[in-house]
Each structure stands twice: as structure tokens, then as C-alpha cells.
Amino acid sequence: MNVLTILWHEQKIFKQKFWTITSSSMISPLLYLIAFGWGLGSEVIISGTSYMNFVMPGIVAMTTMTVSFGTVANSLNISRTYDKTFEEFMTSPIRIWEYAIGKITAGALRGMYSAVLIIIIALFFKANIIVTGFFVLVAFLNALVFSSLGFVVGMVIDSHLEMSKFTSFIITPMAFLSGTFFPIEKMPFILNELIRILPLTQSTIGMRTGTPLSQNAWISPSILITYFLLFLFLSIRLCKRAE
């Protein structure tokens, strides 16, 4: 099974760049926690809880998104357009869907690794974050969605400039508007409804819910699964085209 070969390859790179990956995964969430956690956390109460507790699931979702997306999109883009290592996979007898699944899974696992780091950091900030099985499930689905989106983008976009444009126009606005830092109910009605269909919004809602027992709890995972299947389908189509 060549998916395992791709995962082996990613694991070797992860091991090689462990400290770089670990420190870079921590910087942004750490800054958000300092600014919004320490800075506002004790002063502001949102939805009946401290701002620190409110913002934590959002930061976990946001970081999982950026890490999963960036890991796959950037490495694939560089591999295709710059160092040409993609050709090594394309000229081997590997089935191309195996490559896609391997890369996407590796990206999602990298996202989950960053989520674990943030949760550990959050303990130092005395955030009251409850990690349930449902929370982990939503986080993993979120990582899969953005990892597969990263694969699609990495396959389609042919330059670093275009990659950073995509991040600036799609990923960054999503990070700030999807209920990470404030309840989306505060947004005007139409914008609110638009934002609600974004995958990151669903991840944040799902993680804040934290339990599968509450009303409509499974809506978020269902939407995330739909997004994931759509992006996975596109990834495999693009791979076949490249093949």
C-alpha cells in the first residue's frame, strides 16, 4: 500500500524538521493567546464564559486549518513547480490516488499535531478547554478538509505568488470571520448566513459544542465530511489529469 510509503516519507521529513515545525506551529497561536487571552481574557465575557475559554476552540480550529492547508499546499506547490520532486512520484508505478490520500492524511496529522501543541500551551494560560472525543473528531475533520483543499490548491496554482494570494484572499479572511474571535451572531444577517456555510465556522461551532449529545451537534461534522469528500474528489481528479 503506497499510502504508507507517502506517510513514511512525510514522517521522515517531519522528524528531520521537528524543531522548525514545532516552533512555527506554536508562534501564531501563542501570540493570539497572549493578545486575546491575557489581554482581553479576564476582562471580557462572551456567551456566558470568559473570552479565553470562548476563543480557545476557535484558535485550535484556526491553527489546524492553517497548518493542514499550508503543509500540503506549500509542499505540493514547491514539489511541482520548484524542486520537481513531484516527478519522482509521477514516474513511479504508484497509483496516483494513493499519493493524494497519503499527502492529505499527512497534512491532517500535522494539523492535529499543532492542535495538541496549542492545547498544551492553553493549559499554561489556565484556559478551561474540555477535549472530548467529539472535539477531536471535529478537529480531525477540519484538518482533513483543509489538507485536501491544500492539495487541490497545490495542484492547481503554479507560482508562489498565486499561492500567497490564495492565502491572503481566502484563508486569512476565513480565519478572522468564521467565529474564531467573536460569535458570528454579531454579524449582519446575510453575512452571518454566508459565514455559517464556511468549513472553519462549522469546525469552530462543533468544537465549542464539544459534545455529540447537544441539539444539532452532528450538523457540523456532516458539513465537514461533505467538504472533505468534495475536495478529495477534486484532488484525485487533478492527480489523474497530471498523470
Binding site: N2, T5, W8, H9, K12, I13, Q16, K17, D83, K84, T85, E87, E88, F89, M90, T91, S92, P93, I94
Partner: protein, 291 residues
């Protein structure tokens, strides 16, 4: 044997490869030469399974590429123009990745890694990160990687580009050894002297077509074994005339008012002669061209 039948690759209205027919025999060291944009890289990418053909077919040992790409892939080893190694991994890890992708059994892979590194004199650097390797070492490792799954054909796309003379010569020896051991090698290069030194047969590619195909000796002989080099001051250009023997060349030299140099013709002369001709430039000194 590799057989290309009416192979065509079209990009819009441009025929990068134009109805190309070619047979490359088992154990042959075949060189593909051509000016920039002649279609060398397109052809090697098509042979590598990276670029699909618009028309025509490629078969390797009777296996049609379009029918069974996976089998063709296992029959070829590729050394591409770019250094496409995983720079964050060690030499051994790069080879391990390749072996795993080709589904080599673990014990065979371990043995082949040692053999390939030994063959390329990289055994003592196997646990070093590629990032710290010199250009020549990276190229050697790419060859080791291409050989790992014991392919029948080795495709090399300008493998010595960017290397210094010493590293290039070392790589030549490596390629010669490989071919001597029975490997079919297809080489594209910008360095004509490289093809002359290594290849048993050479094809000149221009505008997607093979315009000359023979052994380097025969190609040189066909253009005239002696070259008379003169600098034409009217157009500030060096021009060459070719003659079948030195005496005729000397006779011609006496009739010229400028200083001249008579020397044995090399493959580069033939290459320039043929490719310039095809471009359609008017070189009056090329009257004694191909016989």
C-alpha cells in the same frame, strides 16, 4: 528495444515532436542532440511517461506505454535535468523512498541500496543530508536512484548540466560503465562532445524531427573529415568549410586571403552545420556540406 511510431506532441499550433519514428536497440548508448527548443526535453518527458503523446506510440520491449504505463515505469530509470532529490532527507532515505515507491521487497531494497551507493562511490555519505551534497554528488545519487529498481533503460536528460569538468568526466565514466554492463542508455545533452565521447549512435533533433541519425563517426564523415575554419571579416563571423581530405582543404586555404585553421571535423561542426541548415540560414561557406 524502444520503438517510437509516428510520435507527435502538439502544443496549440506547435508540433514539439513531429511524427517521429525511431528504434533504439537493447544495450545501445543513444544520444539525442538538438538546439534549444528542438524537442529534446519533450521527447524525454514522453519516454518518462510524464508527458502524454498527442498521436503515435511508444513501446518498450513490446509494452505499449498507453496500454500499461505502470509496467513501462518499472522498466525505465530516469535522471532528470533538475536535481529532484528530497533535500531534507539523507542519501539512503532518498533511495529507500524510491525503492518503496517501486514496491521493492525490504531485503532486496537493502541490498540494492548498498550496491547502488557502492557503484556511485557514495557509500561513505549515505547517512548525510542531501542539502550538503555538491552538484556532482547529487547527480551521482540521482543515477544511483534511477538504477535502484534495476531498470532496463536509463533516460538521462542533460545529466551533466551545471557540473564542472572533473565532475562531468567522472559521470561520463559512470555512464560508460553502466552501458558496458548492458544497460540501454538514452542521453540528451547540450554538450556535443559528450555525445561524441559516449554514444554509439546519435540523433539530431530539430523542430521535433530527427534530421540525422547515425554513429558519431559516420555523421562526421558525412560532413567531411576536415574542417577549414576562417573568420569572414565582412560579416564578422567564423565560418567553416568541410572537406573529405586534408589536401583539398589545403588547396582551398591557399585560395583564401584570410588566415585559416585546418583541423579534423568534430561532431559539433556537423551539429551546427545540420541544425543551422534546417533553420534556413544562408551560410555560403557550407557549400561542402553533407555528402
Amino acid at each position: 528495444m524502444i520503438i517510437l511510431k509516428n510520435l507527435t506532441k502538439t502544443y496549440g499550433s506547435i508540433n514539439a515532436i513531429d511524427q517521429l519514428n525511431l528504434r533504439i536497440h537493447k544495450g545501445e548508448f543513444f544520444g539525442l542532440l538538438g538546439p534549444n527548443g528542438a524537442g529534446k526535453t519533450t521527447l524525454i518527458r514522453m519516454l518518462s511517461t510524464l508527458t502524454p503523446s498527442t498521436l503515435g506510440s511508444i513501446s518498450i520491449d513490446g509494452v505499449l506505454m498507453d496500454r500499461d504505463k505502470s509496467r513501462v515505469k518499472s522498466k525505465i530509470g530516469i535522471v532528470s535535468q533538475h536535481t529532484n532529490l528530497e533535500s531534507e532527507l539523507t542519501a539512503k532515505q532518498n533511495l529507500e523512498l524510491h525503492g518503496k515507491l517501486f514496491r521493492m521487497p525490504k531485503d532486496v531494497l537493502t541490498k540494492r541500496i548498498d550496491e547502488s551507493l557502492e557503484f556511485t562511490n557514495l557509500s561513505n555519505r549515505k547517512n548525510d543530508i542531501i542539502r550538503h551534497f555538491s552538484g556532482g554528488m547529487k547527480r551521482k545519487l540521482m543515477i544511483a536512484r534511477a538504477l535502484l529498481h534495476s531498470p532496463e533503460v536509463l533516460l538521462m536528460d542533460e545529466p551533466t548540466i551545471g557540473l564542472d569538468v572533473t565532475a562531468r568526466r567522472k559521470l561520463w565514466d559512470l555512464m560508460k560503465r553502466l552501458n558496458k554492463e548492458g544497460m540501454t542508455v538514452i542521453l540528451t545533452t547540450h554538450y556535443v562532445e559528450e555525445a561524441e565521447a559516449l554514444c554509439s549512435r546519435v540523433g539530431f533533433l530539430n523542430f521535433g524531427k530527427i534530421i540525422a541519425l547515425d554513429t558519431p563517426t559516420n555523421l562526421i564523415r558525412a560532413s567531411g573529415e576536415f574542417a577549414l575554419e576562417c573568420f569572414d571579416e565582412r560579416v564578422n563571423e567564423t565560418k567553416n568549410m568541410f572537406f573529405s581530405d586534408r589536401e583539398t582543404a589545403l588547396e582551398k586555404a591557399k585560395s583564401l586571403s584570410t588566415s585559416v585553421n585546418i583541423r579534423p571535423t568534430n561532431l559539433e561542426d556537423t551539429f551546427v552545420l545540420l541544425t543551422n541548415r534546417k533553420v534556413g540560414e544562408n551560410h555560403e561557406c557550407f557549400n561542402h556540406s553533407l555528402a
